[in-house]
Amino acid sequence: MYEFDWSSIPGALPFLWTGMKVTLEITATAIVFGIVWGTLLAAMRLSPFRVLSWCSAAYVNLFRSIPLLMVLLWFFLIVPQVLEHVFGLAPGSDVRMTSAMAGFALFEAAYYSEIIRAGIQSVPKGQVAAAYALGIGYGQAMWLVVLPQAFRNMVPLLLTQAIILFQDTSLVYVSALADFFGAAYKVGDRDGRIVELLLFAGAVYFVICYSASLLVKYFRRKVSA
């Protein structure tokens, strides 16, 4: 019978917290940039300009057809090179964090843009017609009339996507970046207590994500009310 030994956890808490901060930082950056870029992609997709619409569709389909893990690997391999060549960054600088954030943000934007597009399309066409009829142009009709209504309907879906993203950030282990999962793994590896540390990490992920999903439920009820 396997003997559980949780004793290495209390001492490792500060280190695990540092990892959690990395996780949260990546998640937050990807949410903010993902939503901003995703909104732009959605607006492009729905705009009357063919070229914009096509570019946006191509972007979204591309990112939605590639595994996230591969996108991240490319970013870990390519971004440092680009930074070195274009910005003259000293070789060997640690840009893994920047790469991770960029990778997640660009990847998530594809998913957010689809959620946002559906949200925009859920706003009745008459609303845009009314804005146009007042002399308001496409951009302002979007910004002042459509998006505020669309976002209200989208909050639950955006939050759900954020929860998935929070879990997916653990994939940065491919770059040995010490996010929460990576930190837990390292501690477990060091002390020979991988099972305990991974159980503990799993419990933390569960508590956070489950609480967030309760929040989603609350918003769902509020939106439909």
Binding site: P124, G126, A129, A131, Y132, A133, L134, G135, L144, Q149
Partner: protein, 244 residues
């Protein structure tokens, strides 16, 4: 003097012909009522007037500006052509006051105080001053439609388009909206009104246009139209809606 001139306009969606060679003149200060069975192209025609819908043939000139001309800045034209929709289309996330001021500020670049003052004056005129701080969802249909009329008037329109403004309302609310429209007509506003409210037509219309299957079947002065409609289809249509 012509305010809205629709000349030989045709429009199709793919192979489906929605409008066939439609011509209507609306002179300054005139009230034209457009009626006809559902699906006959009334909304499409009125949406073409302010360029909400494109058309493939013919010409529409509003206040000497050609709507179909690619050089025409449609937003400038629309800012001066008021429009009222069947489903009101107030912006639900804004208060009534914001609904009344937003386009004044963003399109006409009026300072907020001035826009608000104008909005409140018009809100008072449609009898809803006390509701300025509310959201549209808190108002009845009739009240929302009166706000929508005030919102259009706040832009100082040169003419007004109405697309079945009372057909989504409970019967007891129709008159409060029609009263506002009658008042507007009596003040000399140029109006093109799609409606089946023949009482309104009798009271203030100069001419009645009857549409069927995308074509203008009859365009006659009010008295002639109600007296002896020439086409059989218009007669049938009138008999049907007047019997309700």
């Amino acid at each position: 003097m012509s305010m809205i001139s629709i000349r030989n306009v045709s429009k199709h969606y793919g192979s489906f012909q929605v409008l066939t060679d439609c011509s209507v003149e609306v002179n300054k200060g005139e009230v034209i009522v457009v009626c006809g069975p559902s699906g006959s192209g009334k909304s499409t025609l009125i949406n073409c007037v302010n360029g909400l819908e494109p058309f493939q043939a013919g010409e529409i000139v509003v206040n000497e500006v050609s709507v179909g001309d690619p050089k025409t800045k449609l937003s400038n034209l629309r800012a001066r052509v008021g429009m009222v929709f069947q489903h009101f289309e107030l912006f639900p996330h804004m208060t009534i006051a914001e609904n009344l001021t937003i386009a004044q500020e963003k399109v006409l670049a009026r300072p907020h105080d001035q826009a608000l003052e104008k909005g409140m004056k018009l809100l008072d005129r449609v009898g809803l001053k006390a509701h300025a701080h509310k959201h549209p969802g808190e108002l009845s249909g009739g009240q929302q439609q009166r706000v929508a009329i005030a919102r259009a008037l706040a832009m100082d329109p040169i003419c007004m388009l109405f697309d079945e403004p009372t057909s989504a309302l409970d019967p007891e609310m129709i008159n409060e909206v029609l009263d506002v429209m009658v008042e507007l007509a009596q003040e000399g506003m140029t109006m093109m009104v799609v409606t089946h409210e023949m009482g309104f037509a009798r009271k203030v219309a100069h001419r009645v246009v009857f549409m069927d299957k995308g074509a203008i079947v009859e365009d006659a002065p009010k008295d002639a139209f109600f007296g002896t409609p020439r086409s059989e289809r218009a007669q049938q249509f009138l008999a049907k809606i007047l019997s309700h």
